[in-house]
């Protein structure tokens, strides 16, 4: 069985300050992990992915995430928030090679204020 927990449903930061969106996972197998972003009234877009290569993964728009097996975490970070980062972010765990076994977190809404 696999599961993913996004620890915050809502995060608010000021523009120019760091962003931290937290994700913990549970998986019986070596997981693949993803972060997707959803801007208002849009579909989800892949931000970054971890697939058992480097534990620090860089994605688009300056985001990165670190896979920590000992902590079963895959937190998403960005050094400096921009207004355009305001969106909903989803952490996803996948069992490799199984098309249907993608488990989504419940999402974290990021608000960026001036």
């Amino acid at each position: 069985a696999q599961s993913v927990t996004q620890l915050d449903s809502h995060v608010s930061v000021s523009e120019g300050t760091p962003v931290l969106l937290r994700c913990n996972y549970s998986s019986s197998y070596s997981p693949s992990l993803f972060w997707y972003v959803q801007h208002p009234n849009k579909g989800l877009q892949l931000l970054l992915k971890y697939t058992s290569a480097a534990t620090l993964v860089k994605g688009i728009n300056g985001f990165e995430a670190e896979f920590k097996k000992s902590e079963t975490s895959f937190h998403l970070t960005k050094p400096s928030a921009h207004m355009s980062d305001a969106a909903e972010y989803f952490c996803v765990v996948s069992i490799t090679g199984t098309a249907s076994k993608l488990t989504f977190g419940t999402g974290t809404r990021l608000q960026v204020t001036l």
Binding site: S32, F34, N41, K49, T51, T96, S100, L102, T106
Partner: protein, 116 residues
């Protein structure tokens, strides 16, 4: 640029109506998915298909059916719409990352369905 296109962005239907949601992808992907997105619940898998005419139930298939007659097209059908099916519906197709077997999803923009 790769694309998943959902034919209707917004629909309003009445209870008991039959509803068709259409999804087309131009990436030659084998796998296609229908998800339902509700606030606080994340995305839940309704059905998926790994080949033409093949389908598998996801986590919440009740009240829904699907059709995949061509590789690029995956339709979601609500035989008799109910108010509890008011939701955002997202279609996706997937590519298996070479050497990893991990699925990467490409999503459509979504279809927001309201059932009155």
């Amino acid at each position: 640029d790769v694309k998943v296109t959902q034919s209707s962005r917004y629909l309003v239907k009445r209870t008991g109506e039959k509803v068709f949601l259409e999804c087309v992808q131009d990436m030659d992907h084998e796998n296609m998915f229908w998800y339902r997105q509700d606030p606080g619940l994340g995305l839940r898998l309704i059905y998926f298909s790994y080949d033409v005419k093949m389908k598998e139930k996801g986590d919440i298939p009740e009240g829904y059916s699907v059709s995949r007659e061509k590789k690029e097209r995956f339709s979601l059908i609500l035989e008799s719409a109910s108010t509890n099916q008011t939701s955002m519906y997202l279609c996706a197709s997937s590519l298996l990352l070479e050497g990893t077997g991990a699925n990467v999803l490409t999503f459509g923009a979504g279809s927001r369905l309201t059932v009155l």
